[in-house]
Structure formats: C-alpha cells, structure tokens
Symmetry: C2
C-alpha cells in the first residue's frame, strides 16, 4: 500500500479529539494553526533540524529518534524558562515506511503529551531523511531566561551528567579504548539517543538564574556563547564537574573530552547570584536532578580552566592551578 502525503500526516500525526493536548484555537489541517497566548504571556520560539548521518545514525530506533527530535527543541524552551505550548513538524522522508513512521510518531507524541505540547502543523516531503521542528512556548512577559544576564561574582552551574552522549558516539565510532561493557554502552547510548529536556528545571530557574544556555555543542562551546552575550568571563574548575559513574571509570583525558567538548548533552548551564545557592540545591533535591556548581563568573573576559578546590582562591595555601584549554566547540561544518 502506498500512502499519499495527506493520508500520511492524518494517519500518523493527527490526534482524534480528546487525545493529546489542545493548545491551539485552530489546530492541524488549515493553512495555519492559530494560537492564542494567555494574557501577559510572551511567546518563546525555537527551531532545530536533525539530519540523518549528521545528528543521528540510520540504525537508531525510530521511537528514540521521534523523542530526540522534539527533546532538542524542548531543551531550547527549557533554557528560556518557557512552558511548552505547541510545535510544527517538517518531515523529509526517502520513502513511506509505515512501521518506521508508527515508531517515530509514538516517540514524538509521547514526549509532546508529557509536556502538554500540541503538534499544530507540518509538512512532509520526499527526500533525504531529515526532521525539522519549530517549538513555541509561553513565558510571562519579561521573565524569559536569556544568555545575556550573567554578572561577575555569579556562580556557574550545570545540570545532570554531561558527557555520556559523546562517550556513546565514540563507542559507535569504534574509537573508544578501553571499550564499554554492554550495560555501560546501553546507558551511554540512551543518553545520546533519548535525552531528557530540562523543562521543569528551566521553569524553576525563572527568578533564580541570571543567565541560561542549553548544552548542545559541548559545555565549553555553549558556555562561550553565554559569556560572549553577557560580556563577562568565567573560571571553571575541572575537579568540580559532575562525573557520571560510567564516565568515572574512563581515563581522565577522555573524561574531560566528554564533559567539556561532548555535545548532545541537553543539560542546562546557568549562572546565579551566590545568594541563591541554598535554593538551587533545594531545587536539585525537589527535581531529583543533580545541579552542580562548577565555577564562577568574573569580569575579565575569557574562560579560565582550573584544577583544584572549587572555592580556593589564588592567595590560598593551595591555590587553583590553571590548565590550558585544548577543547573547541563542535561545528557541523568543520567536524
């Protein structure tokens, strides 16, 4: 059976009335969807495309791919402190593969439902496999978390366990020595293929964080964007980085590569006044999500990488030791 373009959208992506979130005044099926943001709310908009061979391997489970395609977009909303509202899907497919589409739409819509985010429009085309999503969220006027608000003296934080996605990628590439056990590989692979967008954390950081960015291109690379937009510098203490047990067994240079230049982490890096430390640690408990203080913002531009104690200062007995930065951000046109 050959499905046409319209059948395909209706069959795999439209929801019967009463199933899935309803956030739009007019949903799927007209020239445009119509959204009515609540009074006093602003709209946060972000877009991300996943291309086969670039952002995912052709062997990936379509359920996980559907999840990830939306997750990387929700991660951008999280970094703005926005509540997910709706998204559009532009799907380019080499052919109509029904089992693949069934898996993909299940993974996609399960994550969408979990966040009350409605699929309000889309487009399918024949061509090399790629998935483009534009996501929209609501945030109270003036409360969006931006990259530009970091101030000298703020603490520098990271959520979760960055680095596992990169570990998995290296394992897939066959370049990892020593190799991972089966369990370790499954866990790292899950981090890469099925990342959890930190939407709840983003919402809770409104009013707490001074600047936020999500880590998609590696911690150092994305931190550099935050610093540039905030016109500040930072000191980052390598020994303070959260090391997942699977990563902790690896050689130290490999740990650092994965933690600092990994990419595909979808954790949040954020800054906050030191006065909020206790509240942020309480938030970590409440969310069941590690939030780790890894450094501080300073007025001098640039990024200092240090080894030693997190709160040690140059005039202490055991002053922190500066280490050279041998990591650069991941760039799709250079990698």
């Amino acid at each position: 059976m050959s499905l046409g373009e319209f059948d395909l959208i209706e069959r795999f992506f439209w929801r019967p009335a009463g199933q899935g979130p309803r956030r739009a005044v007019v949903g799927n099926g007209d020239d445009c969807a119509i959204l009515a943001p609540a009074a006093g709310m602003q709209l946060a908009v972000s877009t991300d495309t996943l291309v086969e061979g670039r952002h995912f391997l052709s062997t990936v489970d379509p359920r996980r791919l559907g999840h990830k395609a939306l997750a990387v977009n929700l991660s951008d909303l999280a970094a703005c402190g926005a509540q997910p509202l709706a998204f559009t899907l532009a799907l380019t497919l080499p052919r109509v593969d029904e089992p693949w589409l069934a898996g993909f739409s299940q993974g996609l819509l399960a994550l969408a439902d979990a966040h009350g985010c409605e699929l309000i429009g889309g487009d399918t085309t024949a061509g090399p496999l790629s998935i483009g999503i534009t996501v929209m969220g609501e945030v109270p006027a003036g409360q969006a978390l931006l990259r530009s608000g970091a101030r000298a003296g703020d603490d520098l934080w990271v959520s979760g366990w960055p680095g596992l996605a990169r570990l998995s990628l290296e394992a897939f590439r066959g370049s990892l020595a020593p190799s991972l056990s089966g369990d370790e590989f499954d866990l790292a692979r899950l981090a890469m293929e099925c990342p959890t967008p930190r939407v709840g954390l983003g919402l809770a950081l409104r009013g707490l964080a001074s600047a936020v960015i999500d880590v998609s291109d590696g911690l150092l690379g994305d931190l550099a964007h935050l610093l540039r937009r905030s016109r500040v510098g930072a000191r980052l203490v390598l020994d303070a980085l959260p090391v997942h047990p699977v990563l902790a067994t690896r050689p130290l240079p490999q740990q650092h590569d994965c933690l600092l230049a990994g990419g595909d982490d979808y954790e949040l890096v954020f800054t906050a006044p030191a006065a909020h430390r206790t509240r942020i640690l309480a938030l970590s408990d409440a969310l069941g999500l590690p939030l780790t203080r890894i450094g501080a913002i300073q007025a001098e531009p640039g990024l200092q990488l240090l080894q030693g104690e997190l709160d040690a200062w140059p005039d202490d007995d055991a002053p922190p030791r500066e280490v050279p930065n041998r990591w650069t951000a991941f760039d799709h046109f250079k990698a």
Copy 2:
C-alpha cells in the same frame, strides 16, 4: 576560507540594529526568540520545507529561491488573513558556498522586509540542500480566515493567473508542445520561481470571505480540501477561469491541465456570500490584482465541473454542460 556554522548565520542572516523589521522582544541569537503578540491578537503559524529536486531545480537563481522559500510560507499566512510577524529558518546545505548564500539571503530578506517579517531564529546543518521555514503572523482574535467556513450559495473566487508555474515546469521538462517563445518562457519561469504571496488580499478578505485556501498543489486539489473542511460541494465553470495571455495561446487541454492541476500557484481560492460581489471587485481594482468568480458553493458534496455560462442554471435555454474530472491533486509521494 571556510566559514563555520555560527559565522555563516551571523554573516548572511543577522541584521545590524536599525536594518530590517524588529518584531521580536528578543531576536536571533538566544536559545529562543521571544515574541510579544499585541493585545487581542492571535498567532497564525505555518511551516513549509523546500527540497532540492522536488520543489526547485538546482539551477535556480539563489535570489529567487530565497524569495520563494519565504513566499510559500507567507502565502499560508495570506490564506488565514494574518499579518506577517516573524519567521525561523532551518537551512541544510551541502557545503558553504558564499556567493550562493549571499544571493539566497538577499532574496529571502528583501521579501521579509517588504512584509515587515523578522527572521528570529534558525539553524544550519550540513546535508542535502533543503530549506525549512516556519512563519508566524498576527490576526485579531476570532478573525482568522479558515478553510471551513464555505456555505451553500457562496460565490467561488480565485486570485491572479493560476497555471503559469505548471507551464514553466512542463517547459523545463521538455514536454511542452508547441514550445514557448523566449519571452513567454521567462514570464512563466518567473511565476514558478518567484511567486507573489497574496498577503494584502488575505488581510482585505477578513470579514468578506467565508473560507480561503492557498493554491499550492493545484486548484482542484486545494479546492477539494476547502470543500471537505466546509462539508459542502461546488460547481466550477471552466469557461470562467482566468486565462493568462501566455496560457491562452496553448491548446485547450493544456490550458485546463495548467489551470486546474498546476500547483505552485500561490493564488488564493476563496468563497464569499454573493452580497459581497461588488466589494470584492472593488478590492480587485484597489489591489491591481484580478479576482475572478469561477463558480459557486452548493450543499451537495463533491465538485461539479461545467462548461458554459457562469450564471447559467440547468433550466436555462443554454444549460451548462458537465465535464468529467480527469485531474488529480499533485502529491509529492506519488508524482
């Protein structure tokens, strides 16, 4: 020189302050852009992707391609009666070709500026050439033009001169007999490569039209969507269709193929109560855009194609003659 992903976006797509429209509270360069819809306004959202070899030929002038990629999206806003506000761009490129990018961004941003539509976010990836745009517009609450409002007795209208894009496509395919003159070819090619989204018409049709759709997949195919969503049928009079002078010289079956099943027209097909005929003709004069009455909505489902006088009825001396429908809508997975 090899440009990275971020340089590429900044260089070709970001605008210096004071240049181009500013519709966003936070524009390009953060995790999300932040939009603040005006009080009482709803947001119309649509998305469309153009894929090389499917929606455009690799030989197309990048300026025209940039124009068209946004035009097809603005056409969806037009069909909803929405004022363009902002858009996101997901660009997948096989390589960084600077002259190509310069042309593409010029064509894209010139049309965006003409409609006050700000580029608020985007994404570039290496891969087979494709262009994904999601466009957002504003419409007063409850005033969006939908596909679902057509009522029995309404007039059926079409804007402009449909059919030229298909004529051009057939000429490119070498399947057109007799062949076009150089001037005819240029004109048809312009219609295909550089369509004009009917944004002004869409805005003016608020309160006049009962249902609207834009013609991207062929007049009959898109009309069928409108009829299905409105749960009505229509009679369409072939002899009433607007025939562009270039199309008028072609054999009649070819004219009909291009007019009815052409695709890529980006004209609006709309319905309106007969009481609005004079106002619609005055609007046509005011916009300098042909608006042609081509039939009527009727309660019985389905589409009747007729030859004869537009306002003739079955009991007239010269009753309209029904002709079989040999056209089907264009489908990217079947063509």
